[in-house]
Amino acid sequence: MPVMTYRDALRSAMAEEMERDESIVLLGEDIGLYGGTHLVTNGLIDQFGPKRVIDTPIAEGGFTGAAIGMAMAGLKPIVEMMTWNFSFLAADQIIQTAAKLHYFSGGQVNVPLVVRGPNGGGVQLSAQHTHSLEGFYGHFPGLKVVSPATPADVKGMMLEAIRNPNPVIFLEAGALYGTKGEVPEGDEVVPFGKARVAREGTDVTLIAYGRQVPLLLKVADKLAEQDISAEVIDLRSIRPLDTETFVESVKKTNRAVVVQEQWRYFSVASEVCAVLQHEAFDYLDAPVERVSGAEVPAPYARNLEIAGFPTIDHVISAARRVLYLEK
């Protein structure tokens, strides 16, 4: 299997599908001439022309709404949020229109729309440019929300996202754009609503998605050094959420740690805990631990920023807590 970066895998999913299907268009700020601020769309304007790779003014609400209109007219638009931090300006279009149109039209209108872009913290991007919005968008029925962590998944899930007849919130792990991995050639769709066991283990289940998945794999390595066998679950889909996979895992390990970059309250980790205490009540040997970001807007200074994100040490310590190896 060819090895490629997360960024390339993503671009190739779009480019390949655009070659197959003329109804796909891209919209976003500086995705064309400029090449995309994260170079995800670099070169696509040359390949497909400006009618299909549409540079827009800085008007997230407007062009997301326009993309909904395009979807109604039979296109399959892919909107780039330059970063998801700007999507608050499109929240009304996403939540009030895209998510509900199929329902309140009594099924008369479909919205096959993908809204994609980098999500989560970068390096010192500070308060307004650092958000993890899985729970935020995941809350709304009518949307599908995914958060792929590997090059293979980002390609396979983008293919699925484009072909899916619903509005899809595609939360890329911006921090992982440059990471590499094997990517199956051709048309390997990764379906939504299926979590992935990223590593098998027996003593404790570590659960995350996106940027935290590679972090958990490192944690698992370190725990292995302490003779602790950790199973790592990559949720991949946020809505629908595959509860079965992690519940089954915890029924086996009896202990779980959920890790996320986002804030603790009303979050993905809250949900996972709520599901686990319900579905694996009799299996849990310890309270499920959550590891989350600090409850603060992201600071700029690197030392503060690092202190505000979940770290390997946080997770190790949480894993040891659920194993009653430390307090």
Partner: protein, 430 residues
């Protein structure tokens, strides 16, 4: 609680009487046409519908009147002079087609159908049979009737509008029975009872909603237009918006995209700005310092003109011409249809603290239906014929009500369908 309701009912009757008094002279000239939910026996005197306690728009709880209006000064400081229709700025149009009396009779019929249908909805709302929000189009019928009439479904034309849209659905061929059933929240409703008054869709007829967030639907228009042209279509999108929505960022962003995409002929969008002079209770003067609303399109390189939105002969003159112009150029174009909402904003909003009865009365004199009625009589159409049209329209509305009342509620299983186009499982309540 009962006492409050009684008080409300009394206030309501007084208001109704005042409104009737204000419009009596004019309404005498147009027979059964009414707008304040009065059902008139064609042969007898008008009878007010027995008022049921109006409900506040949100909770079903009584409204308190403890905080009566105390200071006229503050109020005057806030209110501005009533707006006068800038009649001299209306365009005449250069219609190829001259509408003869026969054609106009057809338009008369459409407008009457809408009016009487909506009168019936208001009545049903007051009876508690229609829930949620209900916004009727009374006073503005000439605009929708002319412009929607210019749509060409063979070419794929569609309309996208906000929430004051019963007329749009009816004019684009939705069956009145299904529209009424929708308002009643019945399973036979045009969107299965899932949307209600604000979310009417009739995709087959080109009616693509039906949206409740002011301004939220505007970007959809240029997007649809682009999407259609991109695929080689030749559709024109009629995009209806209110004067209140024009100050919203969504308008600005969408109009700018339309202008921009229009440069490459990829955005055949006809903006139809219905300036009825109020966004809910806020007059244009109180919403912007630059009140010449159509002019705002110039910021986006979009040409525009203003028409008298209450005179169907005026709107007709313009409608077909601009529809084809937009089709040919692929560029957006804008119409400011200047008019007036002669009814309260929504059926629950009977307290109109923000405008005077005199102002409403003055504008009711320009009501497009009696206006056309008078013109037709002058053209030699016989009153009996128009009377028959009204009777038929009334029968149509009655039939719709009957259909709606007799229709079953939606099946409870409908709650969980249409969330996802691929029927992904969703969880029930509990």
């Amino acid at each position: 609680m009962r006492y409050q309701y009684l008080l409300l009912a009394i206030v309501f009757i007084i208001l109704m009487k005042a409104a009737r008094r204000a419009t009596r002279v004019k309404s005498a000239t147009y027979g059964t046409i009414s707008t304040m939910s009065m059902v008139r026996d064609p042969d007898g005197p008008a009878k007010a519908v027995p008022p049921v306690p109006a409900r506040p728009s949100h909770t079903g709880q009584g409204i308190d009147h403890d905080n009566a209006i105390s200071s006229a000064d503050n109020r005057q400081e806030a209110a501005m002079a009533p707006i006068i229709a800038p009649a001299d700025t209306f365009t005449e149009g250069q219609a190829q087609v001259a509408y003869d009396a026969e054609a106009l009779v057809g338009f008369y019929q459409k407008m009457v159908e809408i009016r009487l249908f909506e009168d019936a909805t208001t009545k049903a709302f007051r009876q508690g049979k229609i829930g949620g929000y209900l916004h009727v189009y009374s006073g503005q019928e000439a605009t929708g009737t002319a412009f929607l009439g210019a749509m060409n479904r063979d070419k794929g034309d569609v309309a996208i509008a906000a929430y004051r849209i019963h007329a749009h659905a009816l004019l684009l061929g939705a069956h009145p029975n299904n529209v009424m059933a929708e308002l009643y929240g019945k399973g036979t409703g045009i969107v299965k009872g899932k949307g209600g008054s604000m979310h009417l869709f009739h995709a087959e007829g080109g009616m693509l909603g039906g949206y409740g967030i002011v301004g939220g639907h505007i970007p959809l228009g240029p997007g649809y237009a682009y999407g259609n042209r991109y695929q080689g279509g030749e559709a024109v999108v009629q995009l209806y918006l209110g004067d209140g929505s024009i100050h919203n960022g969504a308008f600005h962003e969408a109009a700018n995209l339309a202008g921009l995409w229009g440069k490459s002929g990829l955005c055949p969008t006809l903006f139809i700005l219905e300036n009825n002079q109020y966004g809910m209770g806020t007059s244009v003067e109180r919403a912007t310092a630059m009140t010449e609303l159509g002019k705002k399109f110039e910021s986006y390189g979009i040409e525009w003109e203003r028409v008298d939105g209450m005179d169907i002969q005026a709107t007709l003159k313009v409608a077909e011409q601009v529809q084809e112009r937009v089709r040919e150029t692929g560029k957006p174009y804008a119409i400011e249809a200047f008019g007036y909402r002669i009814v309260p904003h929504g059926a629950a909003d009977f307290l109109e603290q923000y405008r005077s009865k005199e102002e409403v009365a003055k504008w009711r004199e320009k009501d497009p239906i009696p206006l056309l009625h008078g013109q037709l009589i002058e053209m030699g159409i016989e009153e009996e014929r128009l009377e028959a049209i009204r009777a038929e329209a009334k029968a149509m509305a009655d039939e719709a009500v009957k259909f709606a009342e007799e229709s079953p509620d939606p099946d409870l299983s409908e709650l969980l369908t249409d969330v996802y186009a691929d029927d992904t499982y969703v969880e029930p309540a509990g």
